[in-house]
Symmetry: C2
Subunit: 227 residues, 2 copies
């Protein structure tokens, strides 16, 4: 088995499901996480647990300080994480985050001679981030094939998005079927240092509703008094 | 004057000319450099000198360790910098480098509400890197406009490449006309800690020939015994 894939792994519910899916499809998984100055950097502990549980071929955590540019409630402490639904693109949007992450994944894919990059974006139950839409992913793939030596030499690189058309409940159902233990994962934007969730941020609300709709018991550990 | 531009500034000849060009066009320049684990990190001193000489609005140096992925003579000490011309894409190609750099520039541009990113790529006198070609830049621009809140809101972001059709000699002629002091810049891939050049790497050979063809005295300081 020689198919290699770079899989973006945040340590959350979606990216963990994607690791399981890529492995089920027979890929050797090279998991890539980022220490980008995120408020909820405890998600990196979750990423390490997931990488270990799946025994991936390699797990890299690359530091890239997006606090240097700021502009998001996740990377600027002067902004608060919203706890209610709002119209439009929320404050938790991190400018160009997926573009930065995919770019480093692209470099690593080229070094590994991997032809596939997996990312857990969904355009169904999502927060309205522009860099989660299928038209963005298609444009990224086209650019990536012009950017690299691999592309110039006629080897096609694909950006795979197995969750793009799935609701959160469908993602959870898929993960359960693939044996994912969601107790390992952290989705909350303001998880405490033990990885316990606030229950009210965008990410918590989507996750909670997902478990309810999927009819799966929610294994999330919440802040004391929340749940 | 409210036009802002993010300008990628390595500290070399091309990007310095681009800073001069953007300023001549009336942009407020936000210069962006990367400490990416490059062998020739003395170029960052040159970037600081250039940013100061032009009194740019702001100069950021963002650390992003591309040694974590390796795959280039510039970011892997086990590989040597070639000193003779070779066929194809040379070993100094850094996988996805411009894609990574442009992505962080894109994030900063969005935070600044800048609608222009300048990059000093040329498809004439260049080393054959895929991410210096006009078709790559066009695809990047298209992707960038789908990636961002700015793009979604209908504000067009442009990737400007004022050197794309210029030979090295033409770039130098343009810079001289704009008052650039090329003595501030460092292009060599293996410059010593004083910024002195080897004279024989890809980058030195292109630069040297450029000054000759432009009929401009070469202000480059070379290693003792070289020149």
């Amino acid at each position: 088995m020689d198919k290699k894939a770079v899989v973006l792994l945040s340590g959350g519910l979606d990216s963990t499901t994607v690791v399981a899916k890529a492995m089920a499809e027979g890929y050797r998984v090279y998991a890539l996480s980022f220490d980008y100055g995120q408020r909820h950097d405890v998600e990196l502990d979750a990423a390490r647990r997931v990488a270990k549980a799946f025994a991936v071929a390699e797990h890299k955590i690359v530091p890239i300080n997006l606090r240097a540019i700021g502009g998001s409630a996740l990377t600027d402490d002067r902004m608060s994480v919203p706890t209610e639904e709002a119209d439009g693109i929320p404050l938790t949007y991190v400018p160009a985050r997926n573009t930065v992450f995919l770019s480093i994944a692209l470099g690593w894919a080229e070094v590994l001679q991997a032809h596939d990059i997996f990312i857990g974006v969904s355009a169904v139950d999502y927060s309205g981030y522009p860099d989660c839409r299928p038209e963005y992913i298609a444009a990224y793939e086209q650019m990536a094939n012009l950017a690299t030596k691999m592309g110039v030499e006629g080897e096609r690189l694909r950006i795979q998005t197995p969750l793009i058309d799935l609701s959160k409940a469908e993602t959870i159902a898929l993960g359960v079927q693939l044996g994912v233990d969601y107790g390992l994962t952290v989705s909350c934007y303001q998880a405490d240092d033990q990885g316990r969730a606030c229950g009210v941020c965008d990410s918590c609300r989507l996750r909670k509703r997902g478990f309810e709709q999927a009819g799966v018991a929610d294994p999330t550990r919440y802040w004391p008094g929340v749940g």
